[in-house]
Amino acid sequence: VVDFTLQAQTPLRGYYKQFGDTSVRESSGIAIYSIGLALDSEPALIKIKSSLGADWPETGSSTNSSDGAYRLLGLQSDQVFVLVSTPSANAEQVNKLPNLGKSGLDKCAYITDQSDSWATLQIDGASATLALERMCPIDLHTTVFGIGQVTRTSMEHLAVIILREADNRYLLMSPTSSANSFQHAVETSLRNVIE
């Protein structure tokens, strides 16, 4: 019997902070899986529709399952990220995607756990877009980058996946190992626009 137990830590230790009208929090209760399509992609596309209840997203856009449990981010033509909200924000609860395995999706597509690869920050509030405009090189105007759109970009030299959830709410994903630097960059930009 092994005498040691391991404690899970999220990259930003459950960070939450309010900056005037805008909040920044770590979305730690999200499991992330990549799904890569096989050359014969048809079986996987059908399986994703039937088991996750979501369509394959075009690159740059996202789709949701009808029950809201799954969100698919279209990052490249043959590969998406699936975000799965877990019932608890506890990092211990983020485990395997039971439906994907049971549905047989893993037999016709390439699924890789990416949950620990990304620090996930949600920035929400009236100053969110103002703050991001200063550090995000893509055009965030709603006519160009609308609700539900997603892209890979960089902020302060750090890789970022940005998803627009609402006019002034974004989900930002950045690599775990530089999570603190990314959090600092977002905080700094937000302070600069609210003060």
């Binding site: 019997v1 092994v2 137990t5 391991l6 899970a8 399509l37 096989a38 990416q114 620990d116 690869s117």
Partner: protein, 299 residues
């Protein structure tokens, strides 16, 4: 991994976890260029291959556990459902395991240090906790964290090539791994590594160097000239790539490339270092200073 022109691009490990599932490690410095190269191969060279790539660098926290007690230490954290004795988990083995009561992990029996060694990976969220557990489990064996300086000494003692030897000019044959490039099938770099100029009698070969006077200190960057020859460009036969003080051998040791190296073991040459104003007599030896038969890492 070779470039198209037959020159060494990077070194790493490839583990086969399932029939069609591989995990490849690269050097830190070349991680992006190797990934880009693999994507180029997948998308442009062989778009008909059914293969997908994704980086899992951030997904796993991975630790090298090295030394004669590495297995005993790991047996205290790897769940007993996964036996890791020498027969069940031999050198170069790999597999999915669980640790500390059911946490999914991966174990690789690979050794860059030359010691009996494993690399153990857990999801990043458990990384800090795993390091603490490893040090606690290792306390009875006096386990300590070791860094790249210690690793650099051990890999030179073992004769493992690293960045200094993979400088964009050298081939698999140069570092003594020519047999890994199979001639029974094609591979990237295979054809162009057969170019005449890369296969001459005077080919550079990676060998070891020991100072004739054990109190001498070797220096990387020194150039080799045969005894009696002046230290000129015309007489240059190769260069010292990596040096270290070996605590095990109690002297300075080096790795380097010299023409026809394997055929010259025992010969004394000058390691000329005009930049530092010195020249040191060195003996050409096997690059495997310690445990040449690999008994430690297979033990």
């Amino acid at each position: 991994m070779l470039r198209e022109d037959g020159i060494l691009m990077d070194d790493g490990t490839t583990a086969r976890l399932d029939e069609h599932h591989y995990v490849m490690t690269t050097t830190t410095a070349n991680a992006v260029s190797v990934f880009r190269h693999l994507e180029f191969c997948r998308q442009c060279l062989w778009p008909g291959l059914d293969v997908q790539l994704i980086s899992v660098t951030e997904q796993w926290a991975q630790y090298a556990v090295a030394g004669p007690n590495a297995r005993k230490l790991l047996q205290k954290v790897v769940d007993t459902d996964y036996p890791i004795d020498n027969e069940s988990f031999p050198f170069m083995g790999c597999g999915n395991i669980t640790v500390c009561g059911g946490i999914a992990g991966r174990l690789f029996r690979i050794s860059f240090s030359g010691e009996l060694a494993y690399e153990i990976a857990v999801p990043t969220r458990y990384g800090n906790s795993m390091m603490e557990a490893l040090l606690q489990a290792g306390a009875e064996f006096d386990a300590v964290p070791y860094g790249t300086e210690a690793l650099g000494v051990m890999r030179i003692e073992k004769g493992h090539a690293a960045g200094n030897e993979l400088n964009g000019q050298t081939t698999a044959a140069n570092i003594g791994l020519g047999r890994m490039v199979s001639k029974k099938k094609d591979s990237i770099g295979n054809t162009l590594s057969e170019r005449e100029g890369m296969n001459t009698e005077n080919n550079l070969a990676l060998v070891g160097f020991k100072p004739v006077n054990p109190d001498s200190t070797l220096s990387a960057g020194a150039h080799f000239v045969s005894k009696g020859n002046a230290a000129t460009t015309e007489n240059d036969e190769g260069w010292m790539t990596s040096v270290a003080f070996s605590p095990s051998l109690d002297c300075s040791i080096g790795l380097g490339f010299i023409q026809r190296g394997q055929d010259r073991l025992g010969e004394i040459v000058d390691a000329a270092d005009p930049l530092r104003g010195k020249s040191t007599s060195v003996e050409i030896v096997s690059p495997h200073f310690i445990d040449p038969d690999g008994e430690r890492l297979r033990g």
